[in-house]
């Protein structure tokens, strides 16, 4: 069910993605994240177009961590912040992170060698494990275009995914 992907080889980090649908305890999960008792990123699947988008955000976060240039408190919040085109951390976490009423969530953990991290997180999620192949069913392209501010001119050239990852990559050096 979970999918594990490798980040850039030199970083020696893997990410594991797990999709849950029909989630009923988002409020509780959010609280646990705030308290720090859950070590992962919980992302709104509606704003995820493709796993590549997550890979780019995670890769950037791990690189920042290694270079000592994290902008947020930890690696997991950094990944959420990186996904967002906004430089406002609070706003970014709110937009891309789990909302109290969300019924589907995408969980991301790093270097889950033996699956224990995912297992322990799964045990506190009240919802159904879904295949990552169904991610597209949750994706809301309209919402994505709105959040990432993709206007019509841009939509006509190149791919939407390219536009998203470009914004993730250049966030610090451009004001959109």
């Amino acid at each position: 069910m979970s999918v594990t992907l490798e980040l850039d080889k030199s970083l020696k980090v893997k990410i594991t993605l797990t999709l849950f649908s029909d989630v009923t305890n988002s409020k509780e999960l959010r609280q646990k994240l705030v308290e720090g008792s859950l070590q992962c990123s919980i992302i709104k699947p509606s704003l995820v177009l493709d796993t590549f988008q997550l890979l780019v955000a995670a890769n950037k976060a791990v690189l920042s961590q290694q270079q000592g240039t994290l902008k947020t408190k930890g690696i997991y919040s950094e990944i959420l912040y990186n996904l967002s085109p906004s430089k406002n951390i609070t706003e970014s976490l709110k937009t891309f992170g789990i909302g109290e009423n969300d019924t589907s969530i995408l969980v991301l953990v790093l270097n889950d060698i033996d699956g224990t991290k995912v297992n322990s997180i799964s045990s506190v999620v009240k919802g159904k494990l879904a295949s990552l192949d169904t991610l597209n069913m949750h994706t809301n392209e309209q919402e994505i275009k709105k959040v990432y501010k993709i206007k019509e001119a841009e939509q006509n050239c190149g791919s939407l995914l390219g536009s998203l990852v470009s914004r993730i990559a250049v966030k610090e050096i451009i004001s959109i």
Partner: protein, 230 residues
């Protein structure tokens, strides 16, 4: 990030090496800028960083304006590498494309290449209208997507390494002049084609284009022989 493994060197210019490989399982191009040891190290670092920032900004800004450019995947100042989308599939540099057309079909070269020239003029007009100066316009820095019919050419602009924002009319004039010089010296007898490009530029830019085209003329004059009077 040790750039060299699993990657193929495809181009080495004065500024950077370009490798082809994959990044997070997607085909990608890696542009690694050289350290220039002849420069003072502080100067070298600041120039390299500025160029990388300018390049990345331009790539994304162009995309936002509807100009096709490679997507940016990652920027790392410590290794001086920009990783971007590999757009080379089914493309040819405009230089080769024009050469091929010129060599194959000498009779109506102008007609064949007119839509392409118009598209390029439109693209540069969009850049300039939005205060982006490319800085190194040549037919090697523009790719043409093949397989499309000639009336709707898809053009991809690459290599924004010398680009900057907030260009003056003079800067834009020089931008056009650099392209003109590169164009005419690489492709003989293409004055008419270039005129088409400029006409499209004027049409698409609108009001501000007159000032730029006047500056282009001025820059040309600086280069052109002045007839002695009296």
């Amino acid at each position: 990030m040790d750039i060299a493994d699993n990657k193929q060197l495809v181009k080495q210019g004065a500024e950077a090496k370009i490798f082809k490989g994959s990044f997070l399982r997607k085909p990608a191009m890696f542009k690694e800028r050289f350290r220039k040891t002849y420069r003072h190290p502080i100067l070298d670092e600041s120039i390299t960083k500025e160029r990388m920032k300018a390049e990345a900004r331009s790539l994304v800004r162009c995309r936002m304006l509807g100009i096709h450019t490679p997507a940016v995947y990652s920027i790392d100042f410590s290794t001086r590498v920009i990783i971007m989308e590999d757009v080379s599939e089914d493309t040819q540099t405009m230089r080769m494309y024009i050469d091929n057309v010129q060599n194959s079909n000498k009779n109506d070269v102008l007609k064949e290449l007119k839509p392409l020239m118009e598209r390029v003029g439109q693209i540069i007009a969009t850049l300039h209208k939005n205060s982006i100066v490319h800085g190194d316009l040549t037919t090697s820095n523009m790719l043409v997507k093949l397989g499309r019919d000639r009336s709707t050419p898809e053009v991809i602009i690459i290599d924004f390494g010398l680009s900057y924002v907030d260009g003056s009319a003079e800067d834009k004039g020089v931008d056009l002049y650099v392209l003109e010089r590169a164009f005419l010296s690489t492709h003989p007898n293409t004055e008419e084609l270039f005129k088409t490009l400029l006409q499209s530029y004027r049409r698409n830019y609108g009001k501000g284009s007159s000032e730029v085209l006047n500056k282009l003329e001025e820059v040309r004059m600086r280069g052109r022989k002045r007839t002695m009077v009296g």
